[in-house]
Symmetry: C2
Subunit: 374 residues, 2 copies
Amino acid sequence: MQRVMNFNPGPAALPRVVLERAHAEWFDFAGTGMSVLENSHRTKPYEAMQDDAAARIAALYNLPSSHTVLFLQGGASMFFAMVPFNAMGGGKRARHVVTGTWGEKAAKEAKTVAKLLGEPDPIVHSTKRSEGWAFASVPAAGTIEASAEDAYVHVTTNETVDGVQYASERGAALPAVKAPLIADMSSDFVSRPLDLGKFACVYAGAQKNAGPSGVTIVVVDKAWAEACRKDIPVIFQFRTAIENRSLYNTPPTLGVYLVREVARWIQESGGLPAMEAMAERKALALYGAIAESRGFYMCPVDEPSRSRMNVVFRLPTPELETAFVKAAESEGMLGLKGHRVVGGIRASIYNAVEEAWVSALVDFMGRFRAQHGH
Amino acid sequence: MQRVMNFNPGPAALPRVVLERAHAEWFDFAGTGMSVLENSHRTKPYEAMQDDAAARIAALYNLPSSHTVLFLQGGASMFFAMVPFNAMGGGKRARHVVTGTWGEKAAKEAKTVAKLLGEPDPIVHSTKRSEGWAFASVPAAGTIEASAEDAYVHVTTNETVDGVQYASERGAALPAVKAPLIADMSSDFVSRPLDLGKFACVYAGAQKNAGPSGVTIVVVDKAWAEACRKDIPVIFQFRTAIENRSLYNTPPTLGVYLVREVARWIQESGGLPAMEAMAERKALALYGAIAESRGFYMCPVDEPSRSRMNVVFRLPTPELETAFVKAAESEGMLGLKGHRVVGGIRASIYNAVEEAWVSALVDFMGRFRAQHGH
């Protein structure tokens, strides 16, 4: 069967071998005589699998023993509320660094939670511009100052809608702060090596690089979680999930299983350095095609902050953008329409997006440009 | 392949035809050339499927147009907190009717939320006993009085751990109250016809009768949801999910797909009346085997409140219970150990548990009893 070339922003392409393995043991998981879907989460085969999933993610990041990996539900949008519920308190001020659409939503939920808890309104550091492409960069290094007296500093490591990413190797470094650092890492989790030990908490909807929708991976500093507030619902508290090894309530069992298989595939493909190298090759090919188009394709994001996960670009007119998406679809390239809020084109090139698909897209971009007189 | 006989309390057995259909279109969902897992939730094929899933559940219940069906995340445990966050306010008092382990947890989270919101402590009506099996009945009809001045009345229609269910046909009726009625229906959703139009809100983790874990089905009165509080995080508000047709954030796409397939299977099997009739036959067979054992098997639940979903019983000693579970496993009957909090034996007999499996269990119960001298 011909696979389509899937550039969806998430849910997104999964590695073929992961789909094949799940298909092969669909009716009989780990010799249990039933589907992984039908196993209780209170059985040894399920628990062993889930522990293995967590261990593989910890191994990918060489995670220090101070931290642990959790499998929860609700997506990043739920953790926009969960994080401040856990981490606000004692009159300390939270800081939200906003570099895109998702970070903006996180900051808004944090304000609501602060009001409910009677805590101070969070400080928002936003790179939003009043005209043109709203978010085009991360803050310059050294501009976010936060002390140990702040509740936390929240960042979004990659902005899926806006195509903005923190990339220290290109000078777009994460803020160096003394306050607990918290990151929504939904769209670049397991895409590159990173010292997660320096974060108090990282959360990521799995449906970009790490698995299907419906499972949220949380990497958390256990001591930090233990110090969080206790007057909130038990289900909200990170410590509940830690104490119960993500089994306080029923986890999304098939989702965890698929995350395990994706983690296995990453390990067998060379780990996070290999994922990063592949992402770099794919991104360079696309940004290269944009650069050599002499303005026909235009990336609105400042160069150091350009995402290696979501490559956004504009064409001279919205009509041409619509034609571009339609013509690409006719060649089997799907999911290229930009987010409805910002428009334009977006090629999401997560781990499982094959390099051959990106080559096909680069080739198509050249032909489409030539057809339109550039 | 020989299927095991799966009596797990949830995640639980799924209908064979549902597993087969998902397997058959695993690599190519609805002609998209990709797995359902790989489709963006912002595409027509996905949205059409999700709308169809909601429509099938509404059709099963003959749901009035005042209500809508939502697909959310977090399981019942998350809604123990979400419900009071939405529904408390204006100094009105909430009432929690507690008939088992899950209802107790719901009441505890509601107390925490009331404190956070500065609302009055909820009133708890509990049937808990100080000795023996803690929960053995639902409240007698007419004993729960609630007026339109109360914030809401919360019930758990079936208690999975304790084997206690509201069953109006046996005299264990749901409270007739003037306040908004809210139900955790996790373990008997889509197991029998019921007028959901009389509930303000029903929520159910799908992993019992309706699908896999990781998707929570919510049926809600739209006008009630619109009147709920607005000073809570956007992601908590039922109105957000209603306005966005469960697509405010990324839904658990594969879970919704499987719920749709289970709903289709129920429709093709005769709808909820057929599910109820089958549940009744399976339950009668097991309760009959208990009754005729002359005390070897003992069901601790009062007869009118005995669950048609989770049949709990004790043996003369804990050692015999352990031997029972082990011997049943050797015959391919899995998941019969009672919940760790209450002990004993529990046979969960949800929709997809085949009648032949229950017959095999009844036969086994007779032989096990004979072997042990009764």
